[in-house]
């Protein structure tokens, strides 16, 4: 049995081998055929493609040729036109170029840079500069003159004001001093004046201050305004001059005056505003007591007659300046009523 089995297996194996070999052979054959078929197809497709390409190539060549023809004719036309244009330009250029140059110059001067305007501007600047220089020169001279005049007037005033401190003699241009001259001085002055040249125009000389020594204004002249009494005027005129550098007020004058003011304020002040503990000490608003009708209210801003009239007209009952007391309100009482009761 086992022999048969082994023999059967052997046969099977051999069969398998043969089948496998046949399959491989068939596979090889198939492959060969396939490759041959592929080759043939490839060859045929190539031919087909070539045929197609030939057609397409011919078509494209035709189209390209046509387009090239068109383009080249255009080109040729352009070149010929350009040549014609250049020829014409050359022919007419010498006439047109100046016109164009004229226009371009005008346009650039108008829009980009106007040289004539610039020239006019610079001429105007030069003119304005000259005007400015002359004006400034005049102003400078005027300033110098003003400076000189100010200095001169300052010196003249200074001379006048210190004249009585430094000299008892009369100086030219300065008013004659009130100190009486001795007889000899007066004679010497007269002799001096005799030698001077008299002016052509005779002007009435001003009376000397000595003539006004005992001058009294006449009674019939009415003086209007706040004039002093005649006697006090005469007294002042005749008062001898006592020039001194000593200051008439003392060093402590301000303190003394302040003390005095303070003392007098206690006297003058009749009624002080009453201060209560509830009231704030600082920044109390001033309450005008114009309509408070008591004897002690200050009335700074109306005269006596109006006060009297207003008192008669608007005589209101006593109005207290003290703050309201709630207890009184509750009881319906007032100071006025109380005072009446007491009386």
């Amino acid at each position: 049995m086992s022999l048969y089995l082994s023999y059967g297996k052997l046969l099977i194996d051999q069969l398998d081998l043969a089948i496998t070999q046949k399959y491989e052979e068939a596979e090889r054959f198939r492959r060969t055929e396939h490759l041959a078929a592929c080759k043939l197809q490839k060859w045929w497709k190539k031919i087909l493609l070539k045929l197609k390409d030939r057609k397409r190539t011919r078509a494209s060549t035709m189209v390209l040729g046509f387009m090239r023809k068109v383009v080249s004719t255009k080109k040729v036309e352009l070149i010929e036109n350009h040549k014609k244009t250049m020829k014409l330009r050359k022919q007419y250029g010498k006439h047109v170029t100046p016109l164009q140059a004229l226009w371009r110059g005008y346009y650039s001067r108008k829009t980009i840079m106007d040289f004539y305007k610039r020239k006019a501007l610079l001429e105007a600047v030069v003119k304005k500069n000259e005007e400015t220089r002359s004006h400034l020169h005049k102003m400078h001279n005027l300033q110098l003159r003003m400076e000189r005049w100010r200095r001169h007037s300052y010196m003249a005033n200074a001379r006048k004001s210190i004249h009585f401190l430094i000299s008892t003699r009369a100086r030219e241009g300065i008013p004659e001093n009130v100190i009486e001259k001795t007889a000899e001085e007066a004679a010497a002055l007269k002799r001096k004046k005799r030698h001077t040249v008299e002016p052509l125009v005779i002007v009435q000389p001003l009376p000397s201050p000595r003539r006004y020594k005992n001058y009294v204004p006449p009674d019939d002249i009415e003086c209007f305004g706040p004039f002093r009494r005649k006697e006090s005027v005469i007294e002042q005129k005749n008062r001898p001059l006592e020039p001194t550098l000593r200051v008439s007020t003392s060093y402590n004058i301000t303190e003394r005056e302040r003390k005095k003011d303070k003392q007098e304020s206690w006297i003058k002040c009749i009624q002080k505003p009453m201060k209560f503990a509830t009231a704030s000490s600082k920044c109390t608003n001033y309450d005008r007591t114009l309509w408070g009708h008591t004897e002690y209210n200050p009335r700074d801003f109306c005269n006596k007659t109006i006060r009297y009239e207003s008192q008669c007209k608007n005589k209101l009952p006593f109005i207290s300046q003290v703050p309201v007391i709630p207890l009184f309100d509750r009881l319906g009482k007032s100071y006025a009523e109380r005072s009446k009761l007491i009386k």
């Binding site: 610079l122 600047v125 304005k128 400015t132 400034l136 102003m139 300033q143 003003m146 303190e255």
Partner: protein, 513 residues
């Protein structure tokens, strides 16, 4: 003891205190006494007198303290350390006008020395008290308060901002309108000190309506007032175009030009500064100044003055010329170049020369016409001298080099370039040679002149690196002349000729015949 005797003692004490404080105040006016007073501890003695019962003693003590603090910053620090400031600030609100003036004087004397001391004054709450003083009736108090505020605002923008935040500006503008001259001066000075730090602060002052009031005072005869007003305007207009236009809209031109003829130098300088600050912004503003005749006025002013006073005017001309060629031509036509040339030769100070050189560069850099105007004034050799001289500062040398370069690049006026050919260093020489290379190919008469003046010879003597721009320009110039002439002027040609003569052998035919 009777009442009278008791009162006598107190009177004597009061008299002694008064005498002491008045003497100290008098002594502190002289600088030689200050150190002695400081050594004796005068601060500690004066401090309690500030709280004295007698107002005169208080005021004189404050005055003495102010004079001491005014002297130097050590004493001012001593005032601060002695805790005097809070008392003064409190008293500013309470006391009478004499004390207020003295207290404001002390605050000013302390604040003026340094920003730190000014900050201390601000920290004590002095600003509010000072601003309240500006509302006082007495002009002396207002003046003292405005002065103190100005000294505080002067240091930096933070302090100036603090002054503005305290509400001082509208009150200062009101102070300007007061009739007292000294108050106007101080208020204008304070506004100027506020404006100078930043555009925002300047705008605040402008918004308060200061410009119109300041403009009215330009023609005031008082020089000190004018100088403060002009300074304020300059500080406002320097920040931006808008502010400068606002100042110009106040119609200060041409009235402000009369201030250039003032007798005081500071007024003239401030006027020029104002015009400079306006001109530097835009060409339109420069045009406005030019139309008002400002350029001529400035040219005259820089000719009449000397030293630092003329510096703003020189800068103004430079700014005007920098904007456009028309404005530069206007400066030339107003004889600005001649004046600047005179300044360049007369001035000794380097910073003024540097400004002059810069201004000339701005004028000449635009077109050949401008460069010719500069060259004709014989300025180029002076510029070169400023550049070469070892005594010149670095700034002057830099500016001279730039100006030379800018002018030479436009200059085609050959007679002015000849001197530079002889003396210029290589970095300047290349520009000179470049200009020659531009002009000579087109101008036969210039070529002749170039040969006869020795320029061609000089060109051949220049040793330039091969391939450099200078070498190229030299070659271009050489192409303009025949080869023989170039060879004739080349260095060593005579030697070469003589060597040829020596080496020459006459021919034998000549010998036999």
């Amino acid at each position: 003891m009777s009442q009278r005797q008791v009162l006598l003692v107190f009177e004597q004490y009061q008299k002694a205190r008064t005498e002491f404080v008045q003497t100290v105040a008098e002594l502190s006016t002289r600088p030689q006494n200050i150190e002695t007073l400081q050594a004796t501890g005068v601060m500690q003695l004066l401090r309690p007198l500030l709280l004295d019962v007698v107002p005169t003693v208080q005021q004189t003590a404050a005055l003495a303290l102010g004079r001491l603090a005014n002297y130097n910053d050590d004493l001012a620090e001593a005032v601060v350390k002695s805790d005097i400031l809070p008392q003064l600030v409190y008293s500013l609100a309470e006391q009478n006008r004499f004390y207020k003036k003295a207290a404001a004087f002390v605050l000013r004397a302390v604040a003026k020395h340094s920003p730190q001391l000014a900050q201390t004054v601000v920290d004590c709450g002095a600003l509010d008290a000072l601003v309240i003083c500006l509302e006082e009736f007495d002009p002396g108090v207002k003046e003292a308060a405005a002065w103190a505020l100005g000294y505080i605002a002067r240091h930096n923008d933070e302090l100036a901002q603090a002054v503005v935040d305290a509400g001082a500006v509208p009150l200062l503008v009101l102070c300007i309108q007061e009739p007292e001259l000294s108050l106007k001066r101080i208020a204008a000075s304070a506004l100027s000190d506020i404006c100078k730090h930043s555009p925002e602060l300047a705008q605040t002052v402008v918004d308060a309506g200061a410009i119109a009031h300041l403009a009215q005072m330009i023609l005031n005869p008082d020089s000190k007032l004018k100088r403060q007003v002009l300074s304020a305007f300059a500080q406002i207009s320097k920040h931006s175009v808008e502010l400068a236009e606002l100042v110009v809209e106040a119609e200060i031109f041409p009235a402000v030009l009369t201030c250039l003829k003032d007798s005081h130098e500071v007024v003239i300088k401030n006027t020029a500064t104002l015009i400079r600050e306006i001109a530097k912004h835009t060409p339109e503003l420069c045009q406005l100044i030019m139309n008002a005749g400002g350029v001529a006025a400035v040219v005259d002013y820089i000719g009449d003055t000397k030293g630092n006073v003329r510096l703003p005017g020189i800068m103004m001309l430079g700014y005007v010329a920098a904007h456009s060629e028309t404005l530069a031509m206007a400066v030339i036509v107003s004889k600005g170049v001649n004046q600047l040339a005179i300044i360049l030769s007369d001035e000794q100070e380097d910073h003024i020369k540097a400004a002059t050189v810069w201004a000339l560069g701005q004028i000449g850099r635009h077109t050949p016409e401008h460069a010719k105007a500069i060259a004709v004034s014989n300025v180029l050799p002076k510029l070169l001298q400023s550049y070469i001289s070892p005594d010149s500062s670095e700034d002057l040398q830099t500016k001279s080099k730039k100006a030379l370069k800018n002018i030479l690049q436009k200059c085609v006026y050959l007679p002015a370039l000849e001197p530079l050919l002889q003396e210029a260093p290589p970095n300047i020489l290349k520009h000179v040679v470049a200009q020659y290379s531009k002009v000579l190919p087109n101008d036969p008469s210039a070529r002749r002149m170039f040969v006869t003046s020795g320029g061609l010879k000089k060109i051949q003597e220049i040793r330039a690196e091969p391939g450099s721009a200078l070498q190229e320009h030299i070659q271009e110039i050489n192409k303009c002349f025949p080869e023989e002439i170039v060879r004739y002027y080349s260095p060593g040609y005579s030697e070469a000729l003589l060597q040829r003569v020596e080496g020459f052998k006459p021919s034998t035919e000549m010998q036999t015949s």
